[in-house]
C-alpha cells in the first residue's frame, strides 16, 4: 500500500531488497491462498531466495508435493500448454494490451466523430476542414443517426395510430396528417428542401408567430427555405435553427 511507484528493476540496495522480498512474498502467498479458496482449486507456490536454503512454499511442503505430483501426472502437453515464464507472460500481456489499445482507439474515434457531427450540425465546424477518411466516418455516423431517427419516428407513428380512433378528422389532428407522408416514404431519396418545403406550404395561417406544430417561430421557416435554395456547406439551413451569432437559439424556450 505504498504511495511511491516502484521502478520495475532489480533493487540494488540490499536492505530494501530484503524488506521488499519479505513483504511481497507474504502478499503473494496470501493471493495464492485466496485464489484456491474463492475458486475451489488446487495450487502451490515455491520460492527460492538467497536468504534461505529452504524454499518458501505454500501451502506447505507436503501440500506442494501433492500438487506437483498431480501436475506431473498430467500429460506432457497439458503441462506445457499453459506454462509461462517471465518472457512469455510479458508477451501475453503485450498482446492483450495491444488489443485494448485498438479498441480504445476505435472508441475514441467514434466519440470524436460524434463531436464533429454535432459541431457540423450547428455550423461551428465546416466540412472543408475534414479529410476524406473523416468524411467517410462522419457519413457513416450520420446514416446511423438517421436510421435511429426513422426507427423511432415509425414507432411513435404506430403507437399513435393504434391509440387514435380509426377515423381521423384532419382538423383535429393536423400534425398527424402532415407528418405521415414523411415517415412512410423512403427516406433515402429526399430532395433538398423538397419535402420540407411541401410541408411548410401545408401549414395554414403562416402569418402567425408559430407554425402549425406550435413550436417553431416563423423566422425559422423563412430562414430554412432561403438557405435550402443555396445549400452550400457554409450556410446549412439547419444552422440558423440551432443558433449562430445572429440568431441565438431563442426558440429553445419552446421546448
Amino acid at each position: 500500500m505504498t504511495r511511491k511507484k516502484v521502478k520495475l528493476a532489480f533493487i540494488s540496495n540490499d536492505a530494501t531488497r530484503k524488506a521488499t522480498y519479505k513483504k511481497r512474498k507474504k502478499g503473494l502467498m496470501k493471493k495464492v491462498e485466496e485464489l484456491t479458496t474463492l475458486c475451489g482449486i488446487d495450487a502451490c507456490a515455491i520460492i527460492y531466495s538467497p536468504y534461505d536454503e529452504q524454499p518458501d512454499v505454500w501451502p506447505d511442503i507436503a501440500g506442494v508435493e501433492r500438487v506437483v505430483e498431480k501436475f506431473k501426472s498430467m500429460p506432457e502437453m497439458q503441462q506445457s500448454r499453459k506454462m509461462l515464464n517471465q518472457e512469455s507472460f510479458t508477451r501475453q500481456r503485450i498482446a492483450k494490451t495491444n488489443e485494448q489499445l485498438k479498441k480504445q482507439l476505435r472508441d475514441n474515434r467514434e466519440k470524436e466523430m460524434t463531436e464533429v457531427m454535432s459541431q457540423c450540425l450547428t455550423g461551428q465546424l465546416g466540412l472543408h476542414n475534414l479529410t476524406l477518411p473523416d468524411l467517410n466516418d462522419l457519413g457513416f455516423l450520420v446514416d446511423q443517426k438517421l436510421q435511429e431517427i426513422n426507427k423511432k419516428m415509425n414507432e411513435i407513428s404506430l403507437q399513435e395510430a393504434t391509440q387514435q380512433e380509426p377515423v381521423v378528422i384532419p382538423e383535429e389532428a393536423p400534425q398527424q396528417q402532415q407528418v405521415v407522408p414523411t415517415t412512410v416514404s423512403d427516406n433515402v431519396g429526399l430532395l433538398a428542401g423538397g419535402v420540407f418545403e411541401e410541408q411548410r406550404l401545408d401549414i395554414a395561417g403562416g402569418s402567425s408567430d408559430v407554425d402549425a406544430y406550435g413550436l417553431v417561430p416563423q423566422w425559422f421557416n423563412d430562414a430554412v427555405v432561403g438557405n435550402n435554395a443555396t445549400a452550400n456547406d457554409q450556410n446549412l439551413g439547419f444552422m440558423n435553427m440551432f443558433g449562430d451569432e445572429n440568431n441565438p437559439a431563442a426558440w429553445d424556450n419552446y421546448f
Binding site: V32, V68, Q86, T97, S118, G139, L215
Partner: protein, 207 residues
C-alpha cells in the same frame, strides 16, 4: 453522474457461489498472481514456480527462470544442486535482457493506453456537456416526434453536404493524379506535383 458499479467491495473468503463469477474471478486473479510473481522476481532476483489448476481441470503455471527447473530443484531437494555453471549464467543474462526489453515495451503500451483512456474520458465529458445544453443531443428515444422531424431534416442536410464535399475531394485528387501523370511522361515535374510527392516510382491508376 451515476456510478456504473458499486466499486471495490469486501469479498467473503469462501468458494464463490455463482459459477460465471467464479470463472471470471479465477481468470483475473490468476493473471494478477502471475504478475505479482513476475514483479517479485524482477525486483528481488528470486526463483519461483507457481502451479494453478483451473476450475476446468486445465493447469496453468508460471516459473522463473522456468517451471521445470524449479520443480526439479524442489524434488531433488536431497541432492545439493550444482552451482550455476557459466553457460547457465549466460543464458540467464540473455533471458533477463530480453525480458527487460519486453517489460519496457509493455510499460510504453500501458502508458499509451492510459492516455487514450483519458482522452476518452474527456470526449465523454464533452458529450455530456452538449447533451445538457442542446435538446437535439439527447438520445433519440427521448425526443418527441416534432423534434425528430427537425433533427432528421438537419441530418439529411448534413448528409447531402458530406456527399457533395466528398465528391469534390475525390475529383480533386483524381485531377491531381492526372496532372502528375501527364507531367511525368513529359519528364518534368510541376511545382504542384513535386509538393504532393507524385514521384516516378508511383504508378497511378485512373479511370
Amino acid at each position: 453522474m451515476a456510478r456504473k458499479s458499486k466499486g471495490r467491495q469486501k469479498i467473503v473468503m469462501a468458494k464463490m457461489s455463482k459459477e460465471s463469477n467464479l470463472l471470471v474471478t479465477f481468470s483475473k486473479r490468476r493473471s494478477g498472481l502471475f504478475k505479482k510473481a513476475s514483479e517479485l522476481c524482477t525486483l528481488c532476483g528470486v526463483e519461483i514456480a507457481i502451479i494453478v489448476f483451473s476450475p476446468g481441470r486445465k493447469v496453468f503455471s508460471f516459473g522463473h527462470p522456468n517451471v521445470e527447473q524449479i520443480l526439479d530443484k524442489f524434488l531433488n531437494a536431497q541432492d545439493p544442486s550444482p552451482t550455476n555453471s557459466t553457460t547457465l549464467q549466460l543464458v540467464e543474462a540473455h533471458r533477463s535482457a530480453s525480458a527487460r526489453e519486453l517489460n519496457l515495451q509493455l510499460s510504453e503500451l500501458l502508458t499509451q493506453l492510459e492516455e487514450l483512456k483519458n482522452q476518452g474520458e474527456e470526449l465523454m465529458n464533452l458529450r455530456k456537456q452538449r447533451q445538457d445544453m442542446f435538446w437535439w443531443e439527447a438520445p433519440v428515444d427521448d425526443l418527441r416526434f416534432e423534434q425528430l422531424q427537425i433533427l432528421k431534416t438537419g441530418m439529411e442536410d448534413l448528409k447531402r453536404n458530406i456527399a457533395t464535399h466528398t465528391q469534390k475531394l475525390v475529383l480533386m485528387e483524381q485531377a491531381l493524379a492526372l496532372a502528375a501523370c501527364g507531367t511525368r511522361s513529359a519528364h518534368s515535374m510541376t511545382p504542384l506535383g513535386c509538393t504532393l510527392g507524385y514521384g516516378s516510382e508511383h504508378s497511378i491508376e485512373y479511370h
